[in-house]
Amino acid sequence: MTDATHPEGESLSRREMLEVTAAALAAPLVKLGPAAAPPALQAVSKFFTAPELALLDELAELIIPADAHSPGARAAGVAAYIDFRLSDSAEPEQQTKWRSGLAAVEALSKELNNGQAFLQASADQRVAVLTRMAAGEHDPKTPAEHFFQDLKGWTVRAYYTSKVGIHADQEYKGNVYQRGDYAGFDAT
């Protein structure tokens, strides 16, 4: 599937691939129902309002969900990290971009889901919103598609630099003193 990083080598069409993704997502989400940010998350909010942060937290978890292998973006504190970075930012246009990006998600949810806000929508409906946002991943056009690039990029950055991402998900073996022979293979 990593073929898909280079469209010319893609084995599944983008549409097929996204359908597979959406199907895979739907199952575990059904149980969740309308989500809200855990109280701890709201307490640390530095830039976003509590509803914005709850929305971001759910979006991040949809992008990198918990699965049988490892916890997801929620457990990794992705939303709180993005919130901190934006509160700490010297670039006001970044803050504006994220705020209006989240608003675009809400607008898209209302458009697709009979006026329902994202967190009030069902699990399937939320996946449908994100699927629409992701449809323009390589060539974003709408505000929601543009926002998806930032949202995913920062979710990836935050998750894979977190304890959860590095140790639980990636099971990274390095950044240790190798006291004997170095790991790896000899050039023979």
């Binding site: 993704t21 895979a24 990636q170 950044n175 003193y177 293979f185």
Partner: protein, 597 residues
């Protein structure tokens, strides 16, 4: 964990009333080596460094986990690192009109900008003008050796006698046999890891134990053998077995942070000039170091035209000082050294000291980079994570073009640097489409299955590629800045096209699926291997220095850094810079004792 001894104390007040045997401008690979060789031979040396003496271990924090840093390694708000687009769309000075408080070169954008923000110069204070050029500068004790990439390669007679081989440019005034003993000295004094390959065009060093390969790299090495090409473990200027004679440097423990920071090693297993050369030189009692000292003129004796010292400004107080010395050694980096020579105008040297040839600033060359290939090793998809990044680098594929063959499109050659396997951050996550459980699993399953490599090619030395002083632009200290007149040419473009073709062909030969190619050339300067602006030669009319990096015009002036190189070759220059500086400074010490300089 303390593995290294504390750095020697730097004197606050340097005695400028006395005349030193030699003053060395710059403290990087070249300046450090000059200090080492001359102080060992008993000369009293003053070293001037424009930057600060940093508490470098605190800057580098090599083993800090990303999540233990508040911004995961990023610099605080207000810092901006220049991007490829900025270098491409705009022209220098790149920091002009920037709203950021501090602007760093692109190296700050490698990830880990917080670790280099005090090592790299602030582009706002250090403008330059002219053609596009990604000029990376480090002002700190040790210069760029604090963050260098560590690939340590020798040149061969394919390089020193390149004109004889293919008719282009000029031969060096030395051959490999002249430099080989000094490469050996550098290897033994500083430590280098690697594997012997017996290649005439990439001579072996005296290696300590090598770094290992990952399974995808072994696969590529095997594939290349069938083509008669070589993939060798990264030849790293890193001591893997330790150095009994150096108490400031630990051996390498394969911690691997070198692979995810711009280079720095806080236990100094990777060579850096302060712990490798300068502190041991201070221990001889013969070296005085003055940081925060911005040299802006080589001073000339009115009667003899000889160098008599160096004028400098204190970077903090802006006060002017003169350092007096019997010999002046310029080692400020290729472009800064040319700038200093050009700034040193006097009635005896109206075009700048040592510049009767008019060649100072000219014949400017480097390495071109950008083109590369990425492959996917299918058998590795879904394999459990392994420790693959506990090493200074992955692999090197030495030049294979224009050795016995003659390429129709270009002269000279290029090598590839690359690596494969797991690292601390799964870079494929950015390119994997979609989201959700499948996205997450794909990132995990593929993270260790990629192998990638990029070319480093020789940029031809050409007189018309040059820098001069901009009459209208000054840096934050009022010193005229450099203006660039420098562009890649057709040979570089053809070579870069070939890199993509050859890279693809090599992955395919090893049965590795090519999943991506980079075809664009990065901005001039990107390799940080600038060379040639005060080249050596036997003819004083067409060269600045003789074979001992001694000015043809001014016998007590030496320029011992990369500016002396006659051609760029395609090998990374640091080890050659140090071998040449060692050779020249031994010559200088001999001549000094005889009273000839």
């Amino acid at each position: 964990m303390t593995l290294v001894r504390v750095a020697p104390h730097l004197e606050q007040d340097v005695d400028l009333s006395k005349t030193y045997d030699a003053v060395v401008v710059g403290s990087g690979a070249a300046g450090g080596m000059a200090a080492h060789v001359l102080t060992t031979r008993g000369l009293k040396v003053l070293m001037l460094e424009a930057g600060k003496k940093l508490p470098i271990e605190q800057e580098l924090r090599s083993m800090q986990w990303p999540y233990d840093h508040p911004r995961r390694g990023d610099a605080p708000p207000g810092y901006h690192s220049l991007s490829f687009n900025e270098y491409t769309i705009r022209t220098p000075p790149y920091a002009k009109n920037s709203t950021a408080k501090h602007v760093m070169s692109y190296v700050g954008g490698w990830g880990g900008s917080d670790y280099v923000k005090n090592i790299l110069v602030d582009e706002k204070d250090h403008p330059y003008t002219g053609t596009k050029y990604a000029w990376v500068r480090a002002r700190a004790l040790g210069g760029k050796t604090n963050i260098w990439g560590r690939l340590a390669l020798r040149l061969s007679d394919y390089d020193f006698k390149a004109k004889t081989h293919d008719g282009y440019g000029d031969d060096w005034p030395i051959s490999y046999a002249d430099l080989q003993p000094y490469y050996d000295k550098v290897d033994l004094y500083l430590g280098i890891s690697g594997v012997k390959e017996n290649l005439p065009h990439l001579p072996d060093s005296l290696f300590q134990r090598p770094n290992k390969l990952t399974s995808s790299e072994v696969k590529l090495r095997e594939g290349l053998k069938k083509m008669g090409r070589v993939l060798t473990p990264y030849r790293a200027g890193v001591t893997t077995d330790g150095l009994k004679h150096n108490r400031y440097r630990s051996k390498c423990y394969g911690r691997g942070a070198c692979d995810r920071r711009p280079g720095g090693c806080d236990i100094h297993a990777a060579f850096d000039s302060p712990t490798g050369l300068i502190y041991p030189a201070m221990d001889t009692g013969n070296l005085t170091v003055r940081p925060n000292s911005i040299a802006h003129e080589v001073l000339v004796d009115k009667n003899t035209g000889r160098a008599r010292g160096v004028a400098f400004l204190d970077s903090a107080t802006r006060k002017s000082y003169e350092a007096k010395a019997k010999v002046v050694i310029v080692a400020a980096s290729t472009l800064e050294s040319a700038r200093l020579l050009l700034l040193s105008r006097s009635p005896q040297h109206p075009n700048g000291i040592g510049n009767s040839s008019g060649h100072v600033g000219h014949n400017f060359c480097e390495h071109v980079m950008g083109p590369g290939v990425t492959g996917l090793v299918k058998d590795l998809v879904g394999k459990p994570s392994t420790l693959d990044d506990g090493r200074p680098g992955g692999f090197y594929i030495p030049r294979f073009r224009n050795l016995k063959d003659r390429q129709p499109g270009f002269v000279r050659g290029y090598g590839f640097e690359g690596g494969g396997g797991f690292s601390i951050f799964p870079g494929n996550a950015f390119g994997t489409p979609g989201f959700g459980a499948q996205f997450k699993r794909e990132v995990r399953d593929h993270a260790g299955a990629f192998i990638g490599m990029g070319g480093f090619g020789e940029v031809l030395s050409r007189y018309e590629n040059y820098v001069d002083l901009d009459p209208d632009t000054k840096d934050a200290w009022g010193i005229p800045t450099l203006r660039f007149h420098y562009q890649f040419g057709d040979n570089e473009r053809k070579m870069c096209e070939d890199m993509v073709v050859a890279g693809r062909e090599m992955l395919e030969a090893a049965g590795i699926e090519v999943i991506g190619t980079d075809e664009k050339m990065l901005t001039e300067g990107w390799s940080i291997h600038e060379l040639g602006t005060a080249r050596m030669g036997s003819d004083p009319k067409t060269s600045v220095l003789n074979q001992f990096q001694q000015s043809h015009d001014v016998k007590n002036l030496f320029v011992v850094d990369g500016s002396s190189h006659v051609s760029a070759s395609c090998q990374n220059p640091t080890w050659t810079i140090m071998a040449l500086a060692w050779r020249s400074c031994e010559y200088l010490a001999d001549e000094f004792k005889k009273g000839n300089v």
